[in-house]
C-alpha cells in the first residue's frame, strides 16, 4: 500500500448559520481508501464536525449516496484513488433534496413521492392463495421481467442526479417510477395496470428527459430511464391518448413507412389541435422561403423500402 497526497474538496452546510461553503482538506492517506473511508479519516483525524450518513460499508444499505466529481454514487463503493482529478476529489450532497448538514440530505421528500405510487404488492386473489400453507408461485421467466428492479436499495443516487427534477421539483423521480414498473410486471399484483399507470403519469413518466443520468448513477445497474420507456409503452397501449402517445405511434408508423420520422408533421399529429396544424403551415412557409424543394419537406421512402418493412416486421415477430 502506498500513501498518496491530494485534496478532498467537500461542500459543507451549517444549519445553525445556514451557511453553505466548499472546504478543502489536504490528506495524505493510503491509496486503497474508498470515498467513505476517506470521509471517515477526515472526521477522525482532521475535523470531527464533518457530517455524513453511512452504515454498512458494503453497498447494501444505501445510506452513503452523494455526488462525487459531479456524478452520484455510493461513497462506500467508489475508490477514492480513481476519482482524483488534477489532485482534487470533489464531494457534495445529493441534489434535489434539502441538506440537513454537510453531506446529509433529508430523504423524506423522495420517500413521500415513493409512497404516492403504492410501492407495495396488493395480492391478486386470483393468483395469490388465501392461506399461508400454499406457496404463491412465480415462474423464473415471470420473475426475470422485474428481477433487476428488485435490487433497488433506495439510496437515491438516481434521484440526486435527475435532470427532470431540475425542471420540476414535483417530478416523481427515477427510482419511484422503477418501482411502479416493478409492480406492474409482478404477476401476483392485483392493482389494475391502468391505476398504476395513472399514478406514474402525475408529474411522472412524461416529464422524463431521457438524459440517461439515472443509468449512470445507479450502483446496482438498474436502468430507471429504460423502465420509464416501458411505462410509456404500457401507458400508450392501455391508458388515455395524449401528446406523447400520439407522438410515439406516429414515430413508429413513419419510420416503418419511410425509414425516418416525419418531423414536418410530427408537431401537428402530437399536438392534435389547430396549434399543431399551424406549426405544419409555418414550417411549410419556412421551407419555401428557404428555397427547400417540396421533395425535402419530409422523408421519402428510400429504394428497397419494402425489404426494410419486412425487416421491421420480422424483428417484431422473431426477436
Amino acid at each position: 500500500m502506498e500513501k498518496i497526497k491530494y485534496i478532498a474538496k467537500i461542500k459543507r452546510f451549517n444549519p445553525e448559520t445556514k451557511e453553505s461553503f466548499w472546504q478543502d482538506f489536504e490528506v495524505e492517506v493510503e491509496d486503497s481508501l474508498t470515498v467513505l473511508e476517506l470521509l471517515m479519516y477526515i472526521k477522525d483525524k482532521i475535523d470531527p464536525t464533518l457530517t455524513f450518513r453511512a452504515f454498512c460499508r458494503s453497498a447494501i444499505c444505501g445510506s452513503c449516496a452523494m455526488i462525487i466529481n459531479g456524478r452520484a454514487g455510493l461513497a462506500c463503493k467508489i475508490q477514492a484513488k480513481d476519482k482524483i482529478k488534477n489532485g482534487v476529489i470533489k464531494i457534495e450532497p445529493l441534489h434535489h433534496l434539502p441538506v440537513i448538514r454537510d453531506l446529509v440530505v433529508d430523504q423524506e421528500p423522495a420517500f413521500d413521492k415513493l409512497k404516492k405510487v403504492k410501492p407495495y404488492l396488493v395480492p391478486d386473489p386470483k393468483v395469490v392463495p388465501d392461506n399461508t400453507k400454499v406457496e404463491s408461485l412465480v415462474l423464473p421467466e415471470e420473475f426475470a421481467r422485474y428481477d433487476k428492479q428488485t435490487d433497488c436499495i433506495l439510496c437515491m443516487a438516481c434521484y440526486g442526479q435527475c435532470n427532470a427534477l431540475e425542471g420540476d421539483e414535483k417530478y416523481l423521480g427515477p427510482f419511484q417510477l422503477t418501482k411502479v414498473f416493478r409492480f406492474i410486471m409482478d404477476t401476483r399484483d392485483g392493482v389494475d395496470v391502468e391505476e398504476r399507470i395513472k399514478l406514474a403519469e402525475d408529474h411522472g413518466i412524461w416529464e422524463c428527459v431521457q438524459c440517461q443520468m439515472c443509468l449512470a448513477a445507479c450502483p446496482k445497474g438498474i436502468k430507471p430511464g429504460d423502465d420509464i420507456l416501458e411505462l410509456r409503452r404500457i401507458a400508450k397501449d392501455t391508458g388515455e391518448e395524449n401528446i406523447a402517445t400520439r407522438r410515439a405511434k406516429f414515430w413508429f408508423a413513419t419510420v416503418f413507412e419511410t425509414g425516418q420520422i416525419d418531423k414536418w408533421h410530427l408537431p401537428e399529429v402530437a399536438l392534435g389541435d389547430e396549434k399543431g396544424e399551424a406549426v405544419t403551415k409555418k414550417l411549410e412557409a419556412e421551407f419555401r422561403s428557404r428555397g427547400i424543394s417540396e421533395d425535402e419537406f419530409g422523408p421519402k421512402p428510400f429504394p428497397g423500402i419494402e425489404k426494410f418493412r419486412n425487416f421491421i416486421k420480422k424483428l417484431e415477430k422473431e426477436l
Binding site: 466529481n69 407522438r247 426494410f308 421491421i312 426477436l319
Partner: protein, 276 residues
C-alpha cells in the same frame, strides 16, 4: 483521403436540412470524404422503444451494417444517435445470440453486422479519427477574445459505457474549442443540465423550463455564445437570450467558410461575434 460513413438521422431533415450541409462542409474542411449511408433508418430516437425496444437493436445493427458494407466507420453529429447506436454496438458485441438472430433477419437485405465499424461523433471523430494535430493545421482564422461556453449535452457522457470522454471531467470539447482562439468559459451554472429536447413532445413545458437554464448560466458567466456538438441541443436551446451554435458551425467558419455558409443566419438568436 480518409473516408467515413455519414449516418443520416432526423437532424438532417426538413427544417434541419442545413445540418447535412454543415456536416459535409466540416468533413471537407478536415480532408475527410463523407459517404452518405443512403438506406440508413432512424436510430429510434428513444421513442421506438415505446413501441418495441427490441426493434431498436435491429434498426441500429442494420445502420452499422450499412457502414460495414461500404467498408467505412459510422459518423453521426447527433448526441442521441451516437448514444443509441453505440449502445447497440455494445449489446451486439457482447451477446452472440442476439447478434446471430439479427444477422439472420438482416440476410434478406444482403446485410451483415460484423462489429468491425467504429461509431464516431464529432468530438471523438476530431480527437481519434482526424487527430488533434491535423485538426489544428486546418484552422485558418481565429475568434480572438470571444468567450465561448462549451455545452456537451447528455448523450456523449452518459450512460458511462458509451461516454466518449471522462464523464466526470470531460475535456475534449474544450480542447477542440481552444485552437479556434476563443476564451473557454468553464464551470458555469447548469453547464451539465439537460437541454430538455426529448421532452418536446411528451411535456413541452418541461422542455421550456430546462433549455434556458444552461444558457442563463453561460450568460451570467459572461459567455458570448454557447457551443454544443449536438444538433438536437442546438435546436432545443436556440431562441432564448443567449445565442448557441453547433461547434462545427464555428469550426467551418474558422476553416474559411462565411458565417452564412455555416448557417449562422438560420439561428433564431443572432450570433454577434467577430473573427480575424
Amino acid at each position: 483521403m480518409k473516408k467515413i460513413g455519414i449516418y443520416p438521422g432526423c437532424c438532417f431533415q426538413g427544417a434541419d436540412l442545413h445540418n447535412y450541409d454543415i456536416t459535409t462542409d466540416f468533413l471537407n474542411k478536415m480532408g475527410v470524404e463523407g459517404i452518405l449511408l443512403e438506406r440508413a433508418a432512424c436510430c429510434g430516437g428513444g421513442v421506438i422503444d415505446e413501441t418495441n425496444k427490441k426493434i431498436v437493436y435491429g434498426l441500429n445493427a442494420r445502420n452499422i451494417a450499412l457502414a460495414e458494407e461500404k467498408g467505412v466507420d459510422l459518423y453521426t453529429p447527433c448526441n442521441t444517435c451516437y448514444m443509441i447506436i453505440a449502445k447497440t454496438k455494445l449489446a451486439l458485441d457482447s451477446d452472440p445470440e442476439l447478434k446471430s438472430k439479427i444477422n439472420e433477419i438482416l440476410k434478406e437485405e444482403g446485410l451483415e453486422y460484423k462489429g468491425s465499424a467504429k461509431i464516431y461523433h464529432t468530438l471523438n471523430l476530431i480527437r481519434d479519427f482526424i487527430g488533434m494535430d491535423e485538426y489544428k493545421k486546418r484552422i485558418k482564422r481565429k475568434f480572438e477574445g470571444v468567450k465561448v461556453a462549451p455545452y456537451y449535452g447528455c448523450h456523449v457522457l452518459a450512460p458511462n459505457e458509451v461516454a466518449l470522454d471522462d464523464p466526470e471531467n470531460p475535456t475534449v470539447l474544450q480542447e477542440i474549442l481552444k485552437p479556434l482562439g476563443v476564451e473557454v468559459v468553464e464551470g458555469y451554472q447548469n453547464e451539465q443540465t439537460c437541454c430538455g429536447y426529448h421532452a418536446r413532445f411528451t411535456d413541452p413545458e418541461q422542455k421550456e423550463r430546462l433549455a434556458v437554464k444552461p444558457l442563463d448560466g453561460a450568460k451570467k458567466a459572461g459567455a458570448d455564445v454557447v457551443a454544443t456538438p449536438c444538433p438536437l441541443c442546438h435546436k432545443a436551446m436556440d431562441g432564448y437570450e443567449e445565442p448557441i451554435l453547433q461547434v462545427t458551425q464555428l469550426i467551418n467558419v474558422a476553416c474559411g467558410s462565411d458565417p452564412k455558409e455555416a448557417f449562422w443566419d438560420l439561428n433564431k438568436t443572432e450570433v454577434k461575434i467577430s473573427f480575424s
